[in-house]
Amino acid sequence: MHLEEGDAAIRKILKRAILILQVDELLARGNSFEDLVQAAQDISPHWYTPYERSAFRFDVDDYMAKVPGSQQVTLINRFSFMPLKGPVSMASPDVCFCIHLDATDASIDGTRAYLGRVIGEGERGALMGRFNLKRRPYLGTTSMDAELSLVMANVAAIRPGSLVYDPFVGTGSLLCTAAAFGGLVLGSDIDGRQMRGTVGVDNRKGIVTYGTSVADEGTLVDEEKGVIRERGKNCTDPGPESLERPNRSLVGNLRTYGLDGHLLDALVFDIRQHPWRADALPSMRSMQFDTILTDPPYGVRAGAKKIGTRNPYPISSSAGLTAEEKALRYPKTVAYEMEELAEDLHKFAAHFLRPGGRLVYWYPAEFIAEGTKVDGESKKRSLMEAEVRAILPIVSELKLLSLSRQPCRLFDRWLLVYEKQ
């Protein structure tokens, strides 16, 4: 009996997996290579039926123990009892077998060995190469690297047609990978400059780049002439000219990958005072996201901001301003602490995620003091998983599915995955 349906499902997984290198159908295993050879002789003859005349190849995968090429041939020849009558083809075999030698615990109980039929290899290299930050036209100080962006999109279970929202979108790294898996993406940020891009010199090309900046709002850089061209006052839109060419902006990043068709919009507002209204109109009651995928600022390289003022009773700051000055005025912002941000994010997700939808984001956890002081400073340690769970906001509609720790130099950050009940 052979199970091609299982192979097809595994290939679906491999097509988008970042953390899986290879999947085999396990044929035999042993606590040593000799055990493996013995176990392989017990494989049912019926198993070989589909492969009896197929071109085949054997690979040796050694971990923690280098097996020289000449010795690999000797190992492979030990499986000559297998009823494979087809030709050997190193370049294009119909079926590939792999001998896995895992010597991780060699000092304890010897090298463990496995024999598998290779179903396929992951697309990790191709996907990470495609989204490599070095090739991206527009980066910010906190742009998420390709590997983690892709892992986040997978963890968030994004599928074609998923409505994905990033409320701290920045330069749009997470939108790029979410769109790559078929998501329809939407982003917002309190700072529109991050999304629109900057005016400046592209050091790699030695040319002046395009886009708008707050300082030069109402102007547009002419790429060919290298000068800033007037577009009229209060113009925040780069205009159709810039949309025709790749640029250093969030839209430009998506366009680089041919994914700009997946971008629904990029909006400027404070997530605490967002414009989403799920129940304002009967026709909008289905306004719910499939996924909220984000990397909020932690305050290390970029701090979160919200609209507000430190003075609880501010004197009207618009007093004495002309209408033109009022129109140009930007609201004041204050620091947005992570605990408060997380609580707001959870409440937002509870309201705007569809049932079964996922909230996926990074939560930074500072080290805590522990033990005796060394040179006047207490030793510090990472928070344990249970300690992190205890400080996370609790919203009854959201169930915590997993939390994964990534150690960093100054703090740890945890990838949290919630599901709306």
Partner: protein, 73 residues
């Protein structure tokens, strides 16, 4: 007949591996064998080490789900 898969993971922490695999299975409509995790090799719990996971009872789950999707059109 029960078959098994041998999965070779990248050198990252186990919790990331499982979170990603669960997410992909969810996205692709494949039932992740939560009940079979007890058979998950303890060797993959070794942090920052390339290792192998043996999901022995995985295939029946995959097969049943895939057959369902085929028949449901």
């Amino acid at each position: 007949m029960r078959a098994a898969y041998l999965i070779r993971f990248a050198q990252v922490r186990e919790d990331f591996r499982l979170a990603e695999l669960r997410g992909i299975c969810r996205a692709e409509g494949i039932t992740f064998p939560e009940a079979d995790l007890s058979t998950y090799s303890t060797r993959v719990r070794r942090k920052l080490a390339s290792s192998y996971a043996n999901f022995s009872p995985l295939l029946p789950s995959l097969l049943s789900i895939f057959s369902y999707s085929v028949h449901s059109g």
